[in-house]
Amino acid sequence: MFEALSSKLSGVFDRLRTRGALNETDVMEALREVRLALLDADVALPVVRDFIAKVRDRAIGQEVIGSVSPGQQVVKIVNDVMIEALGGAGAEPLNLVAVPPVPILMVGLQGSGKTTTSGKLAMRLAKRDRKKVLLASLDTQRPAAQLQLQQLAERAGVASLPIVPGQTPLQIAARAMETARREVYDVVILDTAGRLSIDEALMDEVRQIRAATNPAETLLVVDAMTGQDAVNTAKAFNDAVGVTGIVLTRMDGDARGGAALSMRAITGAPIKLTGSGEKLDALEDFHPERVAGRILGMGDVVGLVEKASEVIDQEEAEKLARKMAKGTFDLDDFANQLKQITKMGSLSSILGMLPGAGKLKAQLGDANIDPKLLGRQAAIISSMTMKERRAPDIIKASRKKRIAAGAGVTVQDVNRLLKQFDDMSTMMKRMNKLGQKGLMRQGLGALMPQGRRPY
C-alpha cells in the first residue's frame, strides 16, 4: 500500500533499460506506470491526462542519444515536462509593483494555512524587504481568528488592524485600506475566512472584497496534502477572484504534493511560496525542480542536503566522509552516524527525501524504521571495547555474548547489527565508486545489493 512512486518508476525504468529505442509501445507502457504514480502522488485525474499526453508527444520517435538508455531518456522527458508544468526553473517572486498601500489578498479553504502564511509573509516583507506592513483579518467566521492574526502580527513585529467586533468582512477590508493610506503603509495583507468552493454566498463575498480592494496579488493558500479535490478548489477560486499566485503549505510533511501540479495546471498561476512549518520563518520560495523530484518520487535531494546541514554536526560529517572515502569506516563511526540519523528525525522521513528510497524502505521493512531500534543499536556498540569497534572481525561467540549482556539485548541483535555494519561498509564502497553524480542520477537503488537486505 505504501509502495513509493520511486520503486514503481524504477521498475519501469529497469524494464526499459534493456530495450533499444523509444517506440510507441514502450513509451505507452512506461506512461501507464507514470500515470499510476502521478495519481498516487495526488495529481488530479484531468491534469494527469494532459501531462501524459504531453510526455507521449515528446517522447515517441525521439532518438535515443549516445549512451543514455531508453529508460533514462523517458525519465528525463517526464522530469523535464514536470518542471515545465510546475513553472520552469527558478522561483517566481511576488509582484508588489503598485501604488502603495499594496493589498495582498489571501484566500483558500478552511484550515489550509492562510492566517499562518499571512503572518509569515508579513514578517518576511518587514524584515527582508523593509516594508511597512499592516495585517488585517477579515475572518468573522472562525472563533478567535482575528485574535490569532493579531498575535501573529505581534510575533512578526508588524502592525495589525485593531479588531472591531460586529463589522462585516467588506467593512473591515475598507477600514484596512483606509488605515493603510492614512498611516502610510507599504503593504496590507488581507487574511480572509476559509470558504468551500461550493459555498456560493461566501465565494460571492470574497469576489466583492476583491473588487473593493483591487489586490496586486491574490494568493490561493493550499495544503500540500490535498487530493483530487484540488481541481475544484483551484477552479472555483480562480473563477471567482482570479488567482495570481499559489502558496503550498505543509511541505514539511511527507505528502508527495501532486496538488502543486494540479493547482498550477488549473489556474495557470505560478506557485510562488511554500510553507514548511508552523513557525513564522518557515516560508520559502517555490523551486519547481525540487518539487518535481518530490512528486515523481525521485527525492528532494537538495532539500535533504539542506536539512542535513542544519542539524548534522558539520565537523563530524566531514570526518565521516573522509573515513568513508578512505574505507576506514568503523563501528564508532557507525554509532556516530546512528546518532546523526536520530537527530535528523525519523529514518522513514529522511528516506522519503532520497532518490530510490521507495525500494530501500520496502526492503528495510517496518522494524528498522524505528527510533527505539536506533537507540538499541547505539547501546550495543557502546558495550563493545575500543578494539572491537575498530576491528569488528574479532567479535566471535564469547565476545558477542558479553556485548549482548552488556547492552541488555540478545546475541541475535548483536549479529544483526554486525551484519548491518558489514552491508553498510559494502554500500560505502559502492558509493565511493559511483561518485556523487552517479548517486544523484541512479538513486540509492544503485547501491543496493541485489536480492539482499541492505541493512
Partner: protein, 305 residues
C-alpha cells in the same frame, strides 16, 4: 456592466440546463457495462480519492458480478454505492461514551488545521444535549489564539474549559484537567491537542507524553483517541493514520469538511487497510454540524448517486 451581468446569467442558465439534460439522459439511456464503462467508473472513484489500488479492486469485484449487463447510469451508480457501502459498513461505529468512567477521557489528535478544535466544540454540544457533562481541555498551547478559540466553543456550548498560559506544557495541563474533572463530576473530558504532522518524531513523542501523564491518574485513560481527518486530504491520509495509530493507538476517526466538494474517498482505503472505526463526519463550521457516519449516504455522495 449590464452586459456582463446578462452574459453571466445566460452562461449560468446554459450550464444548469446542460446539467439537467445530461442528468435526464443518464436516467433513461441504457448502456452496456463494458470495459470502457468500467474504466469510466474506475476514474470516477480515483477522482474521489479512493486511490488507484482500491479503485481497481472495487471495480474488479464489480466486474465479476455485472460485466456485460445493460444498465442505466443511475442504476450503475447505486450499485457501485452499494459495493462501497459494504466496505464501509464494518467501520461505521459511533463513539460510545461510558458515563461510569467519570470522566471518559477523549484525546483528539491530528495534523494541522483538520478541524480538531471545531470537532470538540461539536462533540461538547452533542453530549450536553444528551444530558452528559463535558469539559474541554485547551491542549493546543502552541498555535496562536488556539486557547481562545476553544474558549469560545466553551461559551457556545456551556462546557467548562481547562486552560493554561500559552506555551505551557500540554501534558501538565491534561493532568490537572483530569484531576479537576474527577473532582467536578464531569462525564466526558475532551482533550484538544496542537496539530502535528505525523512525520515529526519529537511532536509525536509529546503526544505520547500526554497519554503517559493521563495514565498516572487513570491507567485506563485515554478511553478514546480520535484522529480528525480532513476530507480534502489525498493519499497521504494513509500515512497519517498509520503513524498516529502506531504512536498513540487511535481508536476512531472523524472526517471533517464533507460539506465541501471533496468526497473523502480515502476513507474507503482506510477502511480496507486499517479497519479503524469511523465515528462521525463534520459537515460545517457550526456546533450542530456533526453527523453520525452513515456508510450508505457516504457511498452515494462519493459516486454521485
Amino acid at each position: 456592466m449590464a452586459l456582463g451581468f446578462f452574459s453571466r446569467l445566460k452562461e449560468g442558465l446554459s450550464r444548469s440546463t446542460q446539467k439537467l439534460t445530461q442528468g435526464l439522459g443518464a436516467v433513461f439511456t441504457r448502456r452496456k457495462l463494458d470495459d470502457a464503462a468500467l474504466e469510466e467508473l474506475e476514474e470516477l472513484l480515483i477522482g474521489a480519492d479512493l486511490g488507484t489500488a482500491v479503485a481497481a479492486r472495487v471495480i474488479a469485484s464489480f466486474r465479476r458480478t455485472r460485466f456485460g449487463k445493460e444498465v442505466t447510469d443511475t442504476e450503475i451508480k447505486s450499485a457501485l454505492a452499494e459495493e462501497i457501502a459494504a466496505i464501509l459498513a464494518p467501520v461505521a461505529r459511533p463513539l460510545v461514551i461510558d458515563p461510569a468512567l467519570k470522566p471518559h477521557v477523549v484525546l483528539v489528535v491530528g495534523v494541522n488545521g483538520t478541524g480538531k478544535t471545531t470537532t470538540i466544540g461539536k462533540l461538547a454540544k452533542t453530549y450536553q444535549e444528551q444530558g452528559l457533562r463535558p469539559m474541554l481541555v485547551a491542549g493546543d498551547t502552541f498555535r496562536a489564539a488556539a486557547v481562545e478559540q476553544l474558549q469560545v466553543w466553551g461559551q457556545r456550548t456551556g462546557a467548562p474549559v481547562a486552560s493554561a498560559p500559552a506555551n505551557s506544557d500540554a501534558a501538565g495541563l491534561a493532568f490537572d484537567a483530569l484531576a479537576r474533572a474527577r473532582a467536578e463530576d464531569i462525564d466526558v473530558l475532551l482533550v484538544d491537542t496542537a496539530g502535528r504532522l505525523h512525520n515529526k518524531a519529537a511532536l509525536m513523542e509529546e503526544l505520547r507524553k500526554i497519554i503517559r501523564v493521563l495514565k498516572k491518574q487513570d491507567p485506563t485513560a485515554p478511553h478514546s483517541v480520535l484522529l480528525v481527518l480532513d476530507a480534502t486530504t489525498g493519499q497521504n491520509a494513509l500515512q497519517q493514520v498509520n503513524v498516529f495509530k502506531d504512536m498513540v493507538d487511535v481508536t476512531g476517526l472523524v472526517v471533517t469538511k464533507l460539506d465541501g466538494s471533496a468526497r473523502g474517498g480515502i476513507v474507503v482505503a482506510l477502511a480496507e487497510e486499517f479497519a479503524i472505526p469511523v465515528h462521525a463526519v463534520g459537515v460545517g463550521e457550526q456546533a450542530g454540524d456533526l453527523r453520525p457516519f452513515d456508510p450508505q449516504e457516504f457511498a452515494r455522495g462519493l459516486v454521485g448517486a
